[in-house]
Amino acid sequence: MEPVLEAKGISKSFPGVLALDGVSLALNPGEVHALVGENGAGKSTLIKVFTGVYRPDGGELRYLGAPAAFGTPLEAQRAGISTIYQEVNLVPMMSVARNLLLGREPRGRFGVIDAARMYGAAEQVLAGYGVDADVRRPLRTLGVGAQQMVALARAVSVDARVVIMDEPTSSLEPREVETLFGVIRRLRETGIAVIYVSHRLGELYQVCDRVTVLRDGRLAHTGELAELPRLELISLMLGRELNEVKAEGVTRFSHDHALADGEPVVEARGLARRHVLNGVDVSVRPGEVVGLGGLLGAGRTETAKAIAGALPIDGGQVLVAGLPLRGGSTTAAIRAGVSLLPEDRKAEGIIPGLSVRENIALAALPSLAKAGVVSEAKIDAVVEIFMRRLKIKAASPGQPVAELSGGNQQKVLLARLLAVRPKVVLLDEPTRGIDVGAKAEVQALIDELAGEGLGVLLISSDLGELVEGADRVLVLREGAVVGELAGAEVTEERIMATIAEQAGAEQAGSDQVGAEQAGSEQAGAEQSGG
């Protein structure tokens, strides 16, 4: 069978990054093809090459048996490649029917839109997708799931040969997921090819035929999904050989924290948030490095943010040194001693227009001021201490932070974090995207901080870093803790095995999510009472 869409040795680079390095993927008609990989693997870049957003630097793109070069997303769409993004990109204020038939509305005489026919047609189409809604109302009045169905219906109804779905289920209810899978199976029967991007492995095994794994911009694996055990898929995604002997000394962790057995400095109980967190319990003791393991989208970042007051939660509680923390306020969290190093350095970390000095002093300003007037001398002193301690390389404290390298920017953020003298730090991917030297320094610093009695919550997609850095690792999957490893159990193999456990079990119980959530909260409360 000839592939409908084929990438042959596609390469694409951006300044300083080789995003895709000779990646090939063949998509056959009527197959559902899973595309997986961790952050920076190149999934989104590949999708953007398929959909005409990017032009590849090298390699060949073939569509319907002929070389293809889509100049714009519109061209790709016209040719029959439709994409459904995580965020629905329709027009929220327009009626459901118009969104569905935009540009193809049935017209009567004089080219006026025939509303009655349009509504009739829209209702008929949507019924096939399990959407039972008034098509006259604006799209935004529909739930996210139903909106996604409208987007899907629209994508398919424009004579699509290929439908690309990017995390389509991330905001769907379990029932809606079932409907979506029904639609996908129908697409398959009619010969439409689907590229399915998701981090929810259970879903992949449920609906996909083949899988392509990308890692660091390269093709890591492609083949039948059913023949690939879950554990092996995870090890392919994370880039770890199953039998790889743990190489000591790869990172700069000493791994000899005097294991603190005191009261937890921070304790989260039953953190819950719709679609994201499903009753997470985490505790960190002083001097302890607790790692959070799991795949992208498992809820690691959300857990850290919820603890830091940066993500509103529907349920659960955070205790700092035994006292409950007011939720939803980073100010309260920082005052109590909980500081977060955010994952996205650029969007959530640095303030690009300000100097290194101002960036470091930012969070600590109230303590460096008297009656609201800042003391330049105090700021200088703090900035000097941290620039020296963290070896921040800048021309001067007055240099704009945007001019620094990624590693130095990260150190500036760590300095900002430490300048408020936290009791516990939540580090979300502290070494991602920084050079080797800075990485080793940051790892050494984490060690040092734990040695000084700080509690550390460490999130890292680098399994080696997690294993060598953490005293204890909690493994998350789909917003819940699915395993805890401590001491000698903390190995890359065990972490991957824990991620892979209970294949298919989560689907069976997905309707009881609410009940489980309530249950785990209750359990948490009982534990704390006892």
């Binding site: 100010t331 303030i351 227009g353 969070a363 007037v373």
Partner: protein, 312 residues
């Protein structure tokens, strides 16, 4: 040349507005008869004072990536309140007017900071509503005879009008707030990256609220001073379109509308530049419509200079 260009842009960005003011002054000294007359100079300064005061608040708001369209209506409300309460003496009346301005600012700030309404929408609603309120309170022009209030608008100290001194003092105060206080630094940080500021524990909502309250307060004060100078309260037309003049002053001063930067002195210079420009053209018998077109060119030039800086 390649190295000179960005440095030139940076220079224009930082000092362009000063250079333009100086150039215009020089031009006038050379070519405008009677320009150096003290009375002429004073008139210019007095006329621009309300714009300067309002644009100080506007610079703060724009520094947070916001905008405050309600300032002109707040001036009108202050004008109405100050005559309504003038019976209790000019100081209580001034206090009531300031409280009124602060309240309008708090309303706008609350909508922006807590309800997440876009600043342009929130303050547009206030622009319309507060003007209406001011007209309800004082439906037509009211003259007053309170000697203290009249003195506030017309007296001078050492030859300098009191209201100009007040504007100068406020400028220095704003400079201090922006450069030396925790609040000022937090305002700049929030404008530079709101989510980073939130994650760093800054009281983002409180700071935003306060920024709009300050803008309301300054607008109310400008309204009272303008009223004192007119010796009449005129809520129907006082402060009309002043929000545009204030935004122009901020933009011409080189403050980017994208936030994260506040240039207090340059903003004042921006207001002076526009005033001086229109005075110059009028003195040379060019019609008002010409002034407007020249002003448009200057605004575009300022925006262009800001853009170059941003892209570096």
């Amino acid at each position: 040349m390649a190295e000179l260009k960005p440095r030139l842009y940076a220079w224009v960005q930082d000092y362009g507005v000063y250079a333009a003011v100086l150039a215009l002054l020089l031009f006038n000294v050379l070519f405008t008869p009677n320009f150096l007359d003290v009375s002429n100079f004073r008139t210019q300064l007095v006329q621009v004072t309300p714009i300067v005061i309002v644009s100080l608040g506007m610079a703060l708001v724009i520094g947070t990536q916001g905008i405050d369209l309600s300032v002109g209506s707040v001036m009108a409300l202050a004008a109405a309140l100050v005559v309504l309460y003038l019976g209790y003496g000019w100081l209580p009346a001034l206090a009531v007017a300031l409280v009124g301005g602060a309240a309008v600012g708090a309303a706008g700030g609350a909508l922006v900071a807590y309800a997440g309404v876009q600043p342009i929408v929130a303050t547009l609603a206030l622009l319309v509503g507060v003007r209406g309120l001011a007209n309800v309170l004082v439906p037509q022009l009211v003259e007053f005879r309170n000697p203290d209030l009249i003195a506030l608008g017309s007296s001078s100290v050492a030859g300098i009008p009191v209201i100009v001194l007040i504007a100068a003092a406020l400028t220095l105060a704003m400079l201090f707030v922006v450069r030396r206080t925790t609040f000022g630094r937090q305002v700049v940080a929030i404008g530079g990256n709101r989510s980073a500021s939130e994650l760093s524990g800054l009281p983002v909502q409180r700071v935003l609220l306060l920024v709009y309250v300050i803008s309301g307060l300054l607008a109310a004060l400008a309204g009272v001073l303008a009223t004192a100078r007119l010796q009449a309260s005129d809520p129907t037309s006082l402060g009309l379109f002043i929000e545009l003049s204030a935004i122009t002053a901020v933009v011409v001063g080189g403050t980017p509308l994208t936030g994260g930067r506040i240039r207090v002195l340059s903003t004042v210079m921006g207001a002076l530049l526009m005033q001086l420009l229109s005075a110059t053209l009028i003195k040379h018998n060019l019609p008002q419509s010409w002034t407007q077109m020249v002003q448009a060119v200057i605004i575009l030039a300022a925006v262009y200079a800001t853009r170059e800086r941003a892209s570096r």
